[in-house]
Amino acid sequence: MSREEPVWITGVGLATPLGFDRPTLEANFLAGRSGVTAVTQFPTDDYSSRVAGQVIDIPCPPGRDPVEFASWPRIERLTAFCVESALRDSGWWGRHNDVRIGMVVGIGAEWMVRWEESKQAGGLRIYRPEEDRDSTLQRVRQHYGLTGPNLALSAACASSNYALEIGRRWLRMGLVDVCLAGGCDLGVTPVGLATLGNLRALSRRNNAPAAASRPFDKGRDGFVLGEGGVLFTLERASDARRRSAVAYAEVAGCGSSSDAHHLVIPSPDPTHASTAIRLALRDAEIDPSDVDHINAHATSTPIGDAAEAGVLRNVFGADSMVPVTSTKSMTGHLLTAAGAIEALACITAMRHDAIPPTINLEEPDIDLRIVANEAQPHRVRVAVSNSFGFGGSNTCLVLRAV
């Protein structure tokens, strides 16, 4: 097998604020619908930010006992639903025990979510380490009888791009035959919303939830917390061709770097984030001029969006005409799953020759060619998706149409 063998995305499973299947999500993306609402999962009167992109009810996968499924921890239900959906969508369902299927998932708050969920239900799990034997991925692997390795990772909001990079590497190494890669995060919890609100990172536009996430807009005042999961089925191109699988895109390039500047604030120096993008382009063996579309990290914070604009100008040129969007305006910020849902937004653009819009963009204060408020018809063969995270992580993913 060639070291450089292409790796394709042949399936996707998702549970997001904008839908639980790809066609629904694509339709909502292109229609510019917001999935941000007032938080309804718990009382929020005392919270500074009371809006979020939520996944209220995680569907029970077909054939599973709904009662048993409901007894699983919420993060386990989310991950299992995405795993099964991705296997079904790619055509591996029913044969998933015949091959080595690995999992690489951005799932940073796994244990915190489980401890908090236990505590809110009156449990004491956080005080009982002996109960913390099996991780979420171990349990999901057992549920489905998967035999490949698994990896839970976190570079905060940059996690999912790392997951796709490592999944691709595992396939090229021959460590797995199929790899499920992406992110799952359930950050909309009482303590999760409180700690990020107290960090003053969240939007306080509580009276207009759908308008709260407004990347690149002068009126932005913080990001909107989101939650959900997106997992892709990755395969070597030769294997996918052999079974005549439908391919959504090629994972063509990945790049990463660290600012080494601040745990929360992006570096004002665009050098290192630019390096991540350049590494991804080099990995994909393309030039900046080959890029048709950029899905920006742009979370709707005053500092972060401006810093990213500087990075994009640094790599693509001050007069770049590459259309840029931030779909966080519709989904909120899915944290460790953000990169995965934004990769799916890029695939949406490729499949429909139309770029999902940045909604709520009334008064841009960033000098980029932003797709504002309505989807823009545009042929997309190569898309770039940026994800930057706490801890100074910078990642970039290049997807190429197949």
Binding site: A109, M112, A155, I166
Partner: protein
């Protein structure tokens, strides 16, 4: 700098003698670079590796030494240096409060960087400083960081949940996500040491060691980075937060930092980290980081006690030069993977002090 560039330029962060190599006894004595913790500052190179100590409580190691088993190594990398740090809560607090900046080579780590960090992050910084006694930040600039903590943030989240119950939203610390989540140790290390390669937190639970090794070796195999700092951390015994009148456990927070570079030679390799495919028994207990570090120490007399035990193994003196001392440090029985640390006895001097 790419891997090939590094090889072309002779890049080797551990190519000069370490001036402050220090070994303290397993219990009590402290090293000069950290007066409050047990630190092991040991560079490893082909001609420095002499005699690894086996864990005397492990019959598996003895069996391997007597009859080495053929294995299929999927990935192999060299361990070029390692550092160990183990601290209890008061020591961690003291480390945080250092009035002067901590020096890492020419770089000063701001004393307030660790103020709100999780305990596992603090010992991770100490361990990596121990490993890089001659730390030169410029030479590590493009290295990656993989941090594999175990149940990071348990104590801080327990406090947050208590305060949330007692005081509501405003009692919750804003530091939980920036300082106590899975990504935090790696991010903090990256900032503390000025590393601009990728930084990533992996695992988080009982399987963090194998996931950390898998990630680090995958990066090296891809040629993404010239080297990786892999830092494994956890509490021993597992930390239990205080509850009501019951105080928190006074467990020891441990970190083992490994400086890993691509495997560059077919022959003698010194110390290697290997991902093996084959039978893998489930791991029953978290990896003992102190014992693992003790077995890596070069030139250590065989009769020297480990954790109060000692073993005399005269057969080692006559071992063929092509043998390895290898021991399993993590397994994933479902996928049939295990991770070994191996010391190529042919690469050392083979002389012990008996």
């Amino acid at each position: 700098m790419t891997e090939s560039d590094a090889a072309d330029s002779g890049y080797d962060p551990f190519d000069s003698p370490v001036s402050s190599v220090h070994w303290s006894s397993n219990r009590g004595e402290c090293g000069p670079s950290s007066p409050i913790s047990r630190l092991l500052a040991v560079p490893l190179s082909h001609d420095e590796v002499r005699f690894p100590l086996a864990d005397p409580s492990s019959p598996r190691v003895a069996l391997q030494q007597a009859e080495p088993q053929p294995t299929e190594a999927l990935l192999v990398a060299e361990v070029r240096a390692f550092g160990l740090s183990a601290m209890r809560r008061h020591e961690i607090a003291e480390f945080r409060r250092r009035p002067a900046p901590i020096r890492a080579g020419g770089k000063a780590i701001p004393s307030n960087l660790l103020k709100a960090s999780d305990e596992q992050t603090v010992v991770a910084v100490a361990a990596i400083l121990a490993a890089g006694a001659k730390f030169d930040p410029d030479r590590f600039e493009e290295w990656g960081v993989v941090a594999a903590p175990r149940f990071v943030g348990r104590g801080h989240l327990a406090m947050a949940l208590d305060r949330f119950a007692a005081e509501g939203v405003w009692g919750v610390s804003p530091n939980i996500i920036p300082h106590n989540a899975l990504h935090c140790p790696a991010g903090t290390l990256s900032i503390a040491l000025g590393l601009h390669g990728p930084n990533l937190g992996v695992g988080g639970g009982t399987d963090s060691v194998i996931q950390g090794v898998l990630t680090a070796l995958s990066w090296l195999e891809e040629g993404r980075v010239p080297g990786v700092w892999l830092v494994i951390t956890g509490h021993t015994p597992e930390f239990i937060p205080g509850l009501g009148d019951i105080p928190p456990t006074d467990s020891e927070c441990q970190a083992l930092a490994l400086a890993i570079m691509p495997d560059r030679s077919e022959g003698a390799r010194g110390v290697t980290l290997r991902l093996i495919r084959g039978d893998a028994e489930p791991s029953e207990a978290p990896l003992n980081l102190v014992a693992t570090a003790a077995r890596l120490e070069p030139g250590r007399p065989v009769k020297r006690p480990v954790e109060g035990l000692s073993i005399y193994r005269p057969h080692l003196k006559f071992r063929p030069a092509d043998r390895h001392d290898a021991w399993t440090i993590a397994t994933d029985s479902t996928s049939g993977l295990r991770v070994e640390l191996a010391v190529d006895l042919a690469s050392g001097t083979q002389e012990d002090d008996r």
